[in-house]
Symmetry: C4
Subunit: 190 residues, 4 copies
């Protein structure tokens, strides 16, 4: 099975999720800057979510670069990843509209955690199919960045009981960790 | 006529339908977990519909893999399939918001039935064009899985008069039947 | 300039327009069939618009099949066609919600007329670029179907002053005229 | 790294942004022409934004035509450009609904300015990667059109304090400046 249509479907999905989120920001009724105040937390939440979707897209892009073929397991691991990512617009809007209060922040973090675990399943499904000596296996290595992210998400969930903003800062932190696309893969391909 | 643009258009369509559905889940106003309670049935309905769209996409992907060319009849059979699938977000939201009561459940089932029949027309249009000795014809065989699904949908419609949840369970059951992509095609291509 | 990205952009556009329209059908609040009554005219309007977008996509698909290169004029003719088509979801919802009363029906028809004229400009821009002896020129011929459609739309606009439903029937009629994709192009390519 | 998936993702993004904007125009409740009056400024705003997205898409299309490879910096410059463009539907709706009053017009202009600056960063990231003697470098030249646009946006922001409509006219003016796709690139490729 070749990988082109999975890439096309996923690219379409990422492009839509990132765009559809902006629909959650309703145009306010007033005409002065103060009318924008209630939209501001939703906007912050939008920036965070935009960054996450862009990161997932970039890394997905890099991951499939090293992939030559796929199978049914990869197809489903990919669908499950997209499922968790598809909830981000909903949770992002809820979190923003409620000024980053605890419950929405926790659920947003759980969603990020599930997405990260799904991504690591997707990587495992690809590795199982390509074998230990493939370019992909060399490129991924120990996947320590993936594991650190999962640990940080769990930490964020616990610390959100101290203050939700600590969790939010950790989400931003994990984001920055991934801003640089996965250079292992670029190197291994060369 | 080559198949690339039909695949591209369909991939775009599937990616959008699956994403647009999440817009039907409105962010609730409260900030505690109880505020999520009214969203919960819509979320269940979303999971079911997400699974169905993902299944149709995966099988569509597999089906066109074995296809070499298309004609006008295939183009229209495909459009009709997409029409029935395009109603899923609307019916899914209605079914969820009304806690899976009978009328929405029946209409959701009728839509699934029409989509399944359209899919089997699409398969027939492709077979008529490719001939009985094509890879596709060998891959599809008797299409018993497609026929079983249609029977189960009709059964679900009748049993929804006993209790709508029986119909819902049957919808989930048919979904699981298709979770494994069509391996006949993968084998036949090899 | 090659045509691939214009096709990709247009495919994406058609896939989205056709999907976004379903968002105009809001899930009703009641749980019985009567709750669907107010949605019914919007649904009829949705079917008509779905058919039109599918027709434009199919014909656009066929048209670009015979095209080898594009230029800036084609790019802009295509953008203007997409602009008029992009108004269909809005006008379709307005027409449906107002039970096909006269003003929305007239505006819907004007939009169809402008889209048809833009399509014929797109054809002309392609012909001007490809020359009179190209496959495309042979395939298009006198474009009588395009001209008949424009005449029928103008007729529909006048007859809508007798009764809006006459105009609606004419819109459906023009649709059926185009349901068969442009076979001139298929023949000329062979 | 090859450029195909960035093009696909960006094409998807442009197609969605341009389509999603039409959702900001809600179907009015009345059935006569006067019912359309409140939608009219939103429609004007929609035309302006549609023109801008179409321009960015056309120029993005031309820019990547001259590009052979990309790197991480290009990927992120592209994502930042898409971020600013993704705010256009929100700001466009706000500006239209408030009849082009000053604050929305200024924020719309700031967004256009940031998008223009991001585009010029994207060009710089591509140039840094391709070198001074590449086709791209010859094609871009001094990028005077990009610089003029940035100056005109800043001018518009100042003149909006005299009257917001002057700013709007300048936005339209910059748009017309770009309506003709970047012919430098077409020439340099030849």
């Amino acid at each position: 099975m070749d990988k082109n249509r999975v890439e096309a479907f996923s690219d379409g999905f990422f492009a839509i999720i990132i765009t559809v989120m902006v629909l959650e920001m309703k145009a306010p009724h007033g005409t002065d800057l103060r009318a924008l105040f209630p939209v501001f937390p939703v906007f912050l939440s939008y920036i965070l979510s935009f960054m996450y979707i862009a990161i997932y897209w970039n890394n997905h892009h890099h991951l499939f670069k090293a992939v030559s073929h796929i199978n049914g397991a990869v197809l489903w691991a990919n669908s499950i990843l997209l499922f968790w990512l598809s909830l981000i617009p909903f949770l992002s809007a809820w979190m923003g509209e409620n000024h980053f209060s605890q419950v929405p922040v926790v659920l947003y973090g759980i969603d990020l955690l599930f997405a990260a675990v799904s991504y690591s399943f997707l990587v495992k499904a690809l590795l199982a199919f390509h074998g230990k000596n493939s370019i992909l296996a060399k490129a991924i290595g120990s996947d320590s960045k993936g594991n650190i992210s999962i640990v940080l998400y769990i930490l964020a969930l616990f610390l959100s009981f101290v203050h939700p903003l600590i969790a939010c800062l950790l989400y931003v932190g994990v984001g920055f960790l991934w801003l640089v696309p996965d250079q292992r893969i670029e190197k291994a391909i060369k």
